[in-house]
Symmetry: D2
Subunit: 266 residues, 4 copies
């Protein structure tokens, strides 16, 4: 008989949920998601790494999602980290990614766009097509395709998405079946341990725990993406106002976190 | 019989409130304050300028209080503007003050610290004493004394204070008897037309009305004061977090807006 | 009988030099080089484009070599331009490359590093290996290999090299047989029309002709390369002091302009 | 009989020149100037401080003239330092002045403009009159009058002027009788120990001796004055090109170092 308390089980990343996603029915995953919704960020991370270890990869953008790496590091368990180098990040972001690598003593696998795809896009439309016909085409080449390559190796990925980030993220759950990047035979889980935190809570944690952060945050940047598609947040603006600021706020997703169609159930 | 509506009277800056403050009893002023509390910022400005004209001076810091000048300009009435040049403003702020001067075609009277007082402070304590023993002494020399000189010429001054700016300003009223700068014989009124606006509302107005603003706001600054005592606001921080950031949040007033003692009644 | 003067022939880019390099003996090219040494930058460009047209490509780095594009544009002849996008250029340089594209109404072919090669380098050594074991390995992946791909299409390329740039360039000639990028069967010529100009002369031309230039030049940058490997030039320093500043001044070439061995004759 | 060598005497700041300027004839001073012309910067500083001690004041602008303070500090003798705070210096320059104060453990007397004079200028002409009718009027209020006040206490002042700085300084001598600030009864000497150094030599010294310097020098600034009247030096430009850049190069003196009329003899 297992006499461990629920709290102890969470601390060790254990619960009754079946870990083998490939065998899970949709209803299994739905149950898991409900339980995870009540986990703290640290508990959720512990659970994920206990289940999947290096098959669970943190997607690190070089911004405040460094918190995910801190949580994984605190878990004491092995984990994987990757970043997408779009070729257009701020110089400060490249420095920060390398600083995080050294600070935590980890390997960060960096994925680059496909040479031919990016050359073709630039030859045809120049280096700033996104200002004219939207960011989707450039994101597809510089982020989504490399992400698809990255995720092909993993069972679960971990992101820094939060509900308070934007209208497009108001119903993010701690655990989701990834509708976009799951393969036909290999379902992919997405863990969003910070889903229910506010921006202020994330930053209180960063400051109190003295976690290294991108110096752009000290220069007015809140959410950070590619340099030409990110500007600082102005007085009275929402945190995501600095991303693709010339576009409609309801379309500001790069394709990494497209929501499933309305009838899609996990 | 006056058949003008309340709205018309407000639009012209007229009401029944006795304008001659020097003759007003405290109870008169208290009545005025109650009525003004319901005025819009434009109505409050109209009222003030109709009553006092050039004897009413807008205190312009070079930040988002440019809104006050816009309101005054829209009133179509004469008005005065002054700024305090502490000698330590950002280069961008000096440029902005001059730009506002040109944009509205107005005179901005600029007050400088007393030569001897500032030289003595610097000789004794260097140029950054505020980091060591608090900003009060430097503000006294560079802001408060020049403000006292400036206000000696006026019956009323207009500031950009808002309730949502800080814990020290949560009970700011649209109209107040200034407890600090009133002379023995000459009571001084302080008008805070933006008292009940939020930061977001002020900035919506600035953007929609295309009012010129300090370029530092596009570089992460929200509240702007002297360069060494202002930093940008970091993610998740309150708008005044950038002012005297090394000090306790309950002491971050420069002396221009010290609150009256608790028993002080207007 | 040809009655055109030498000056007229230069103006039209014509001279007696045999243009078909693949048929040229070394002595032919040596004769060409001697004559070109006396040509002005505009004359040299005219000559090259008259001979090779679109088979002659300007290598545009996003810095003051924009002068080459101005010269080509003034020639009235067709020409090709390519840039190497290392993935680590300054955001301002990407903007400038696109601005030049629009200003001159030209296509700029942009070459990117090989996906696998750059991912392997970063996985193994991180994003800043050059600070530790020299810039050669990173330049090989991000500049030299893409350049080799680019040059495979051309008979001649045009660079902004100048003799006064550095000790490594003191004997640059206006015309050279490229010892590094020539194929076994297809010799490649390199034209350096600015070889004998000084930095001050180049900049006088840019300012007087109101040629668009990289805004980094207004922020203290002289020579501009990749962001992490370029810093501004400090007071009293030479113009190339800002490139790979942590390395020995005699090794500061990225591999695009390696000198032939001493016994190599053109 | 004095058996000390010339070199020993220089090292101790001793020579045969009569130190009491007020008693000196013009011919005495002319002799002094001739001898000083052969002194090294350190020898010249030693000589001056041995003669005048605290009556000899270094004029420190917050730029590379920090070298003067280093020399004075190395002399082991007492000395005075003053700065002119125009009220329009860069924030970085104020920080640097304070840093120098701490680094050398010295008092820097800071002189501010006269309150009324500066207020009158700004009321009448705004904060940027110099862009429209020249910098002389503003410099007179913010620099020259405070300098006159500062110099009234001293017998000699020390400046960082160099011959290679500009066409207006090509004949600067190591020792000069100050034609502008000498009183009727009290002649004032001006020592320019760096007169014959080049910019590159000054900066080699700063770097090799690890002397603290204004961080603006790492951002492209060479000569540094007031913020609105200084810009960085662009590629190919002379070091003083950044000062009052909208004005004729032959008029770029603030009034501190006006040359004597041609017939003026020292």
């Amino acid at each position: 008989m297992d006499t461990t308390t629920e709290e102890e089980r969470r601390a060790n990343g254990r619960n009754d949920v079946e870990a083998d996603v490939s065998q899970s029915t949709e209803s299994d995953i739905s149950n898991m998601a409900q339980r995870l919704a009540e986990y703290s960020p640290q508990e959720a991370m512990n659970w994920a790494l206990a289940r999947h270890g290096r098959d669970c990869a943190i997607s690190f953008s070089g911004a405040e999602d460094v918190v995910l790496i801190e949580l994984a590091s605190r878990s004491g368990k092995p984990f994987s980290v990757f970043s997408l180098d779009t070729g257009r990040l701020h110089p400060e972001t490249y420095e920060f990614i390398d600083r995080v690598r050294g600070h935590y003593g980890i390997t960060i696998e960096v994925f680059s766009p496909d040479t031919t795809a990016v050359q073709n896009l630039v030859r045809e439309k120049g280096l700033f097509s996104f200002y004219h016909d939207g960011h989707q085409e450039c994101c597809a080449v510089r982020k989504v395709e490399p992400l698809r390559r990255a995720l092909s190796k993993y069972r679960m990925w971990v992101t820094g998405q939060r509900r308070d980030q934007s209208p497009t993220r108001s119903d993010v759950d701690t655990l989701q079946l990834d509708p976009t990047f799951s393969g036909a035979l290999a379902p992919l889980l997405k863990l969003n341990p910070l889903a229910r935190l506010t921006l202020a809570e994330v930053w209180s944690f960063i400051r109190e725990a003295r976690i290294p952060y991108n110096p752009l945050h000290d220069r007015g940047f809140v959410s950070i993406g590619c340099a030409p598609c990110t500007r600082i947040v102005r007085p009275g603006e929402h945190e995501r106002a600095g991303r693709w600021s010339w576009e409609d706020a309801t379309k500001r997703e790069c394709g990494l976190h497209l929501k499933p169609p309305a009838d899609y159930a996990i």
